[in-house]
């Protein structure tokens, strides 16, 4: 039988200070990145505006495209080249480009890049009010998901555990969120979808470990909680790693082969899955342990 990570006996809990440091640094990097970038870089889904993807043959430089747009009176449009397809993403603010921004872009490029073939590949136009609504809906969805998960974990487990579980979940989602900001990606609807999926995945991993902790605690009442947790983490480690591996394999396939449209989605998932695995071992269990120890100390003081 082919086995990895069998019969390991690592003192995870003893080294939790290291994990806290790593997590702290990652969260800090995320915060700094968000501060430096002035908050998340919202996509047109949330700000309103128009995003036009256009293929131009023969391919001009981004500067040429910018000049062509400026020349036709659309100032300050954001131009970005899509490396995988060689097309350009042109982002305009609300009201820029008139009633039909796609047509405006096509005409601007056709008249200023003589002899080029211009093809509109996609258009996303969102009115300012719809943008605001989608932003509100995204926030509500995230809060709803976190609320539901919190309630479920609180019902199924000791509330002391749910603190660790939810902290781990915030940790994973926030670091993935930070990674989006750090790599200067836009926060779009699909990225929010990825963040919510990470929330589900993160808690899933944590629950497997917690289930085992509970099972072991019943059998080993006299053991120190630290020891019980180490045992549970070690016993579930192979499963944690294997599941993360299979999920990572599929997400990686999406990231590499899935194309530009879901690139940001798969990137966010990838970061989330990696940190989700790490956090279920460390952040969740370690925090659950510390909560428990702290409560015991409080109890003795009285």
């Amino acid at each position: 039988m082919l086995q990895i990570l069998h019969n390991i006996n690592v003192d995870w809990m003893g080294k939790r200070a290291i994990a806290y440091t790593i997590s702290g640094v990652c969260v800090l990097i995320s915060i700094v990145s968000l501060l430096v970038h002035g908050g998340p870089r919202y996509g047109v889904d949330f700000t309103g505006g128009t995003l036009v993807e256009v293929a131009v043959i023969p391919a001009p430089s981004a500067d040429n495209v910018r000049h062509a747009m400026d020349a036709s009176g659309i100032q300050g449009a954001e131009i970005q080249r899509v490396p995988s397809s060689g097309s350009f993403l042109i982002r305009m603010g609300v009201g820029q480009g008139g009633a039909d921004p796609a047509k405006t872009v096509r005409e601007a490029l056709q008249s200023n890049l003589q002899g080029s073939e211009v093809k509109i590949r996609s258009v996303e136009g969102v009115g300012p009010r719809v943008g605001g609504e989608l932003r509100g809906a995204a926030v509500k969805a995230v809060l709803l998901a976190l609320g539901l998960i919190l309630v479920y974990v609180a019902i199924r487990y000791d509330w002391r555990y749910s603190f660790g579980a939810v902290a781990a979940l915030f940790h994973d989602v926030f670091i993935a969120f930070g990674a989006v900001s750090l790599t200067n990606r836009e926060l779009t609807l699909t990225v929010v979808a990825a963040l919510l999926t990470i929330a589900g995945f993160s808690i899933n991993d944590t629950i497997v470990v917690f289930d085992r902790i509970r099972e072991r605690k019943q059998a080993l009442r006299k053991e120190a909680p630290e020891k019980v947790m180490n045992l549970a983490v070690n016993e579930t480690l192979s499963r944690t790693v294997i599941t993360s591996l299979t999920v990572t394999l599929t997400v990686l396939a999406l990231f590499i082969f899935g194309g530009e449209v879901i690139h940001d989605f798969s990137f966010t998932m990838l970061v989330g899955v990696v940190f989700g695995t790490y956090s279920s071992v460390y952040v969740a269990s370690a925090l659950a342990l510390d909560t428990q120890l702290w409560l015991e100390r409080q109890g003795k003081k009285k």
Binding site: A102, L189, A253, G258
Partner: protein
Amino acid sequence: MTKSDQRKFLFTLAGVAVCIYTLWPTFQFYALSPAKRQEVLQARPASATNEEERQRLQKMADLRDKSIKLGLDLQGGMSLLLEVDKTKLGPAEAKNAVDQAMQIIRNRIDQFGVAEPSIQKQGDNRILVQLPGLLDQGRAKELIGQTALLEFKLVKSDEEQRAILDRLDKHFALRMGAAATGGATAADSLVRPLTSRFLSVGQAGESFVLSENVAAVEAMIDQVRADSSFVLDGTFAWEAHLTEREGRSGRVFQVLTKDPLMQGKDVQSAQMRLDLDEQRPGAPGVSFTLTSRGGATFADVTGANVGRRLAIVLDSRVQSAPNINERIPRGQGSITGSFTEEEAQNLAIVLRSGALPAPVMIIEERTVDPSLGQDSIQKGLMAGAIGAGAVVLFMLVYYRLSGAVAVMALILNILGLLACMAGFHATLTLPGIAGIVLTIGMAVDANVLVFERIREELRNKKTVLAAIEQGYARAYRTIVDANVTTLLSALALMWFGTGPVRGFAVTLSIGLIINMITAVGVSKMIFDAWSLRRKVNSISI
């Protein structure tokens, strides 16, 4: 096999049969050649001329409706979210405005010839229009957004026009206050703030404003319109297109009677024609026939006003204002102007399908070119195949025969997922494909949990049978817990998400629910069947 095992087996078999049956139209549909598929997409049994044809088209339509549909992001097309502006309607009108608007938009789109348009009401005052595979976005947007409020109004006589414009001049001069006291020496622009910007005032039934002054005049007119204390016997309208007078470009500005003589609802039919304007043969225009009631009014109005001009106003813009040469008895008329052929065609369509009860604004647009959609399908399938292949390979290598059982469960899971999508008429989007791929990665988790548990039990020197029993029993609770939490976040996503993102939540949720059946139930059944037939001393896990 025990009785209960047999039942389970038959149940599974029946489930698989139902899945395949549900998916069969989808197989058939996507096995067709692209051209044939297009034909099936566009089949409309109602358009058939004979019974045989109708049956043939009905078959095609059934095939289309029973197969999994591709979202606009995959097949290409346009999705528009429209908002009906009800602010200017009374409560009674507002009540039905959205439904009326939907009906009219549907009529217009039907005449445009789009395969399978979808028009849905969203919330209180919104309409979601989805046009798959449509290429000419600009034209469709024009067609949908045009209010098409057609009105016939008499043009005021030159004297009347001048009198009204004079009143406006005085009004603005007064508002400018002190400057106007300069009397004759004051600049023209202060005495006649409005008409000094005109090239001509009230001549031959029109005034002319130079291009550079149009915006300023428009702003002043808007002020007057907004001022409810300022009552005028007439309304203002611009001509739809820029023209030239004395070699200078500008816009014709007209003063019309306030109330329309007739409206678009009096139009019975309309066609684009190329032979309407004698001076410009081949210039596109629209000829229309009025209803009998409209025709009678038209005859009266034209009879009483021979020699005056009649303005044909579309969405507050004067399309043309021909002279009334004689009484027009039979309700036949035409609209000419500087139309392109396409514009004339659109106008004919919107006249036939009626005016929108209120202005409609496009507040969200998502368009994907079919080539990008095709690209997304290929890449999505490629990523799915590679991801699934890697997972399958890993399971087979790591868990050997048991891995094969897990892979079998996985195949049934995906089969069930696709069948559910076909059965519920769900739409497959690119994020939806991502959801399926992700399901593949997450679904094996249940089997991994079970197998790791069985291995543990074996290590604890349990017999194979006991290990299997214990493995499943102990892992089950964890599997449910773990799936429920992911489901909760998927549900939140389904609740708030739109279009493609909701597609992701749908595939992920269905996948996870089926996973709890296949990964635990079906794989256990296979183990049971296998272990009962022989004396089991070892297990390939």
